[in-house]
C-alpha cells in the first residue's frame, strides 16, 4: 500500500519543467557537460593564468564559489554537486576500457570497501590545504583537479561499480555528510510496487543491456507496467552503481543523486522526495549498501572528522592560530611549520574529539545502565549484572554521533558562506579579466565588485547558521535517544532527555567554540613564505 506520508511529500520529479528534465535520460550528462567545460577553463587559468589567487578563475571559483554553492545546495536541496560531477564524465571511457582491456574490472578490494580510505584522504586533504595554502595557489588548485580526474579515471577503469564515489572521493564524502541534513531524498514512491517487482533494475545491470543506445528512440514508459526489455534496451539505463537497493535504501548516505535508479525503474516508482531536514539522523534502520549507522565505526569516524574538521578549518583562519603555532614551535624547540600544524591536527582532529566523544558516550551509557537497573529493580540486579546495558561504548558513540552532524554542517555553512558572501561577486571581474585577456571582452574590468551583502550582516548570518545547526543537533540527539530507548523501553521523554543530555552539553560546548571562532576577525597568513615557490 502507498505510504501516505510519502504520497503527501513533494516530489521534484512531478514538477512541470524540472521533473521532465530530470527524467530525461541524458539529464545528468547535460548538467555535467557545462561543469566540465567550466572545469577546463579553471584548469587552463590555474595552470597558465595569473598566479594571484584573487585574480584567477581557479582559486576564485573553487575556493569561493564551489564551496559556497555546494553547502547552500545541500542546505536547500540535496547532493546536487555529485549529480553534476564533471569527474564522472571520463568514467564513460573508463568503463569502456575496463570492459575491453580489464576483463570487466575487479571488485574494489574488500579491505578498503569502507570509509577508512576516504577518511584518510579527507584528513590528508585538510592537512595539505592548510600546510600548502591551497586557497592561495591557482597552480596547486589546478593540479588537484587534474589529479582528481586521473584518480577517478584510474579507479573506475580498474574496479567495477562506482568505487571512486563510494570509497575514495573526499568531496563526495563531504557531500554525503552534508546531504544527511538535506530536505530532498531519492526514494521509492510506492513500496508496494517494489514488492512485486521481479527485475530489480534499480540495483542490477541487465546482462545484455548496452551501455549506450544501440538504435532507435526511447519509447515513453507505460503507465500500467514495466516496459518490455526490448524497449528498455534502447535506453542504455543502468542500476545503482553504489549498491543502494531502492526498496531498502534509507536516506542520502552514499547517494550521488546520479538519477540512474530513476531512469532504471521500469515502473517510474522512484522519486526525488521532500522530507523533514535531518530526519534521517533520528533513526538507525538497516540501510541498503551501508548497514546500520551504529555498526559502522568507519562512518562514525568520518562524521567525527567532518564535525570537528569544521571547527579546525575555521580556526585556522583566525589570529589565535598563529600564537598557538608559535607556542607549539617553542615547545618543540623550533619545529618546522609542518610539525606545528601536525600537532594542531593531532590535538584538534584526533585527541580532543576522541576524548570528548568517549566521555560523552560513557556518560550516556552510564545513564542507560542506571535506567535499566531502576527498571529491573534491585532484586534482579545481581542476577542481571552481567547483562546490564553491555552495549560497547563504540556502538553508543556510533549511534549518537550523528546528532552532531547538523552542528558540524552549520559550522561549514557559516564558514563557507562567509567567504561566498564576502567575495561572491569577485567572479565577475575575474571572468571579465579572463575574457579581456583572451580577446573576447573590451572595456574596463569592474574590480570594485566583491561582497554580496554588507559586512555587518556577515556575523549575524554565520551565527544563524550555527544556532540553527545546534538546534537541529539537539533535536536529533533527543530523537536518537527516543529511538534508542524504543529498543528496550517504552517511549519516555524524560528518560530520553537523560540519555541525550551529555550530547546536548557537547553540542553547547561546540556551539560556544564555534561562536568564539566566528566572532574573531579573519586573518589568513602563512602564504608569504611560499611566494617564491611559483612564478
Amino acid at each position: 500500500m502507498p505510504n501516505s506520508a510519502t504520497r503527501r511529500a513533494p516530489d521534484v520529479l512531478t514538477w512541470p519543467l524540472l521533473g521532465r528534465f530530470l527524467k530525461w535520460q541524458h539529464a545528468r550528462t547535460a548538467m555535467q557537460t557545462p561543469v566540465l567545460l567550466l572545469t577546463a577553463l579553471i584548469l587552463f587559468d590555474g595552470l597558465l593564468g595569473p598566479q594571484l589567487a584573487p585574480k584567477n578563475l581557479a582559486t576564485v571559483s573553487v575556493w569561493l564559489h564551489y564551496r559556497g554553492l555546494v553547502v547552500l545546495a545541500l542546505l536547500v536541496a540535496g547532493n546536487l554537486f555529485c549529480m553534476a560531477c564533471p569527474f564522472m564524465l571520463p568514467r564513460q571511457a573508463a568503463r569502456w576500457l575496463r570492459e575491453r582491456f580489464c576483463g570487466g574490472g575487479r571488485p574494489f578490494p574488500a579491505i578498503v570497501r569502507n570509509k577508512w580510505l576516504a577518511l584518510a584522504l579527507v584528513l590528508a586533504f585538510f592537512f595539505v590545504y592548510e600546510r600548502f595554502s591551497l586557497w592561495a595557489s591557482p597552480w596547486l588548485t589546478a593540479w588537484i583537479i587534474l589529479a582528481y580526474f586521473a584518480i577517478a579515471f584510474a579507479v573506475d577503469t580498474l574496479f567495477r561499480g562506482a568505487a571512486f564515489c563510494k570509497y575514495v572521493c573526499p568531496l563526495g564524502q563531504f557531500n554525503f555528510f552534508g546531504s544527511l541534513i538535506s530536505p530532498l531524498e531519492i526514494k521509492v514512491r510506492e513500496p508496494g510496487t517494489c514488492a512485486t517487482c521481479r527485475t530489480k533494475d534499480c540495483i542490477q545491470y541487465q546482462p545484455t543491456k548496452p551501455l549506450w543506445p544501440v538504435s532507435g528512440r526511447a519509447r515513453p514508459r507505460s503507465e500500467t507496467g514495466p516496459q518490455q526489455f526490448s524497449d528498455r534496451e534502447t535506453q542504455g539505463v543502468r542500476g545503482c552503481e553504489l549498491w543502494l537497493f531502492q526498496p531498502r535504501k534509507v536516506g542520502n548516505m552514499d547517494c550521488t543523486f546520479c538519477l540512474d535508479c530513476i531512469h532504471a525503474c521500469p515502473y517510474d516508482n522512484v522519486g526525488i522526495i521532500g522530507r523533514v531536514p535531518t530526519s534521517e539522523l533520528w533513526r538507525d534502520p538497516f540501510r541498503s549498501g551501508i548497514g546500520r549507522f551504529s555498526q559502522r565505526r568507519d562512518l562514525a569516524a568520518l562524521v567525527a572528522l567532518f564535525v570537528f574538521g569544521s571547527f579546525i578549518n575555521a580556526f585556522a583562519m583566525i589570529r589565535p592560530v598563529y600564537a598557538l603555532r608559535d607556542q607549539i614551535g617553542r615547545w618543540l624547540g623550533g619545529a618546522s611549520p609542518t610539525s606545528e600544524l601536525a600537532v594542531i591536527f593531532l590535538i584538534g582532529l584526533i585527541v580532543l574529539p576522541a576524548l570528548l566523544l568517549i566521555v560523552t558516550g560513557f556518560v550516556t551509557r552510564m545513564a542507560a545502565q542506571r535506567m535499566e537497573k531502576i527498571e529491573r529493580g534491585d532484586r534482579d540486579r545481581d542476577r542481571d549484572r552481567d547483562r546490564e546495558c553491555r552495549e560497547p561504548l563504540r556502538v553508543v558513540i556510533s549511534r549518537y554521533i550523528y546528532a552532531l552532524v547538523p552542528l558540524g554542517f552549520g559550522m561549514w555553512l557559516a564558514h563557507y558562506s562567509f567567504h561566498f558572501l564576502t567575495g561572491g561577486l569577485t567572479l565577475v571581474p575575474v571572468a571579465q579579466s579572463f575574457l579581456a585577456d583572451v580577446g573576447l571582452l573590451g572595456g574596463a574590468v569592474q574590480w570594485g565588485l566583491g561582497p554580496m551583502v554588507p559586512g555587518e550582516w556577515l556575523f549575524p548570518i554565520e551565527a544563524i547558521f550555527l544556532y540553527a545547526g545546534a538546534f537541529a543537533s539537539i533535536v536529533a540527539a533527543l530523537q536518537i535517544a527516543l529511538n534508542h530507548l524504543g529498543m528496550t523501553h517504552n517511549d519516555d521523554p524524560a528518560a530520553a532527555l537523560k540519555l541525550a543530555a551529555p550530547w546536548v552539553v557537547l553540542i553547547l560546548i561546540l556551539l560556544l567554540a564555534g561562536l568564539a571562532i566566528l566572532v574573531q576577525p579573519m586573518e589568513m597568513r602563512g602564504t608569504l613564505q611560499m611566494s617564491g615557490s611559483r612564478p
Binding site: 564513460q92 530489480k200 551501455l211 542500476g239 564576502t422 579573519m522 597568513r525 612564478p535
Partner: protein, 156 residues
C-alpha cells in the same frame, strides 16, 4: 539485500558494440576539442608573469607605516632609484594591493605626495592576512618598472 549480495548481483556490461565505440570516439573528440581550445586560449595572452625581479636595474623599495600594518587605513612609502642609485622623480605610480587568497577585491593606493623619488601612498587594508602589493611605475620616458611586495597585515 546485504551489501555483499548487492555487489554479487551486479553482472558485467556488454558494450562491445560499434555504436559504443562510436560514442566513445565522440567523447574523445569532445575532450580533444577542449584541449585544443585551451591551447588556443593560451596563445591569446592570458599567460601573465609576476613582475620580474630587478632585470631593469631600477631599485624599488617599499616601507609600510606602521611597520606592522593593521586593518584600516595604511600608508606605504615607495622609493624609486635608477640603476645609478639616483632618485627618480615624476614617475606615475599605480599601487594595487591584493590578498593572497581569493574573495577580496583589490585595494588601490592613492598617491599623497612625492619628495625626491620617495612617494607616499595611502592604501586601505580591508582584512587581516597576507597581501601582495603590486607597484607599477611609469617613468617620464615611458618605461614601466613593476615590482611585487608581500606584506602581512594584522587584524585589529
Amino acid at each position: 539485500m546485504s551489501l555483499n549480495t548487492a555487489i554479487d548481483v551486479a553482472p558485467t556490461l556488454d558494450i562491445r558494440r560499434p555504436e559504443a565505440a562510436r560514442r566513445l570516439a565522440r567523447w574523445a573528440a569532445f575532450l580533444c576539442a577542449l584541449a585544443v581550445l585551451s591551447v588556443l586560449c593560451a596563445g591569446c595572452g592570458r599567460i601573465q608573469q609576476t613582475p620580474a625581479a630587478a632585470q631593469d636595474g631600477y631599485t624599488v623599495t617599499l616601507v609600510a607605516q606602521p611597520a606592522t600594518p593593521v586593518v584600516g587605513d595604511g600608508t606605504l612609502v615607495v622609493t624609486l632609484r635608477d640603476p645609478a642609485g639616483q632618485p627618480v622623480s615624476g614617475a606615475r605610480l599605480q599601487v594595487e594591493g591584493n590578498m593572497s587568497h581569493a574573495g577580496m577585491k583589490p585595494s588601490f593606493g592613492k598617491i599623497r605626495g612625492e619628495d625626491a623619488g620617495q612617494y607616499t601612498v595611502a592604501i586601505p587594508w580591508t582584512m587581516g592576512g597576507d597581501w601582495y602589493v603590486d607597484i607599477k611605475a611609469t617613468l617620464s620616458d615611458g618605461r614601466v618598472i613593476a615590482r611585487r611586495f608581500p606584506i602581512a597585515v594584522h587584524a585589529k
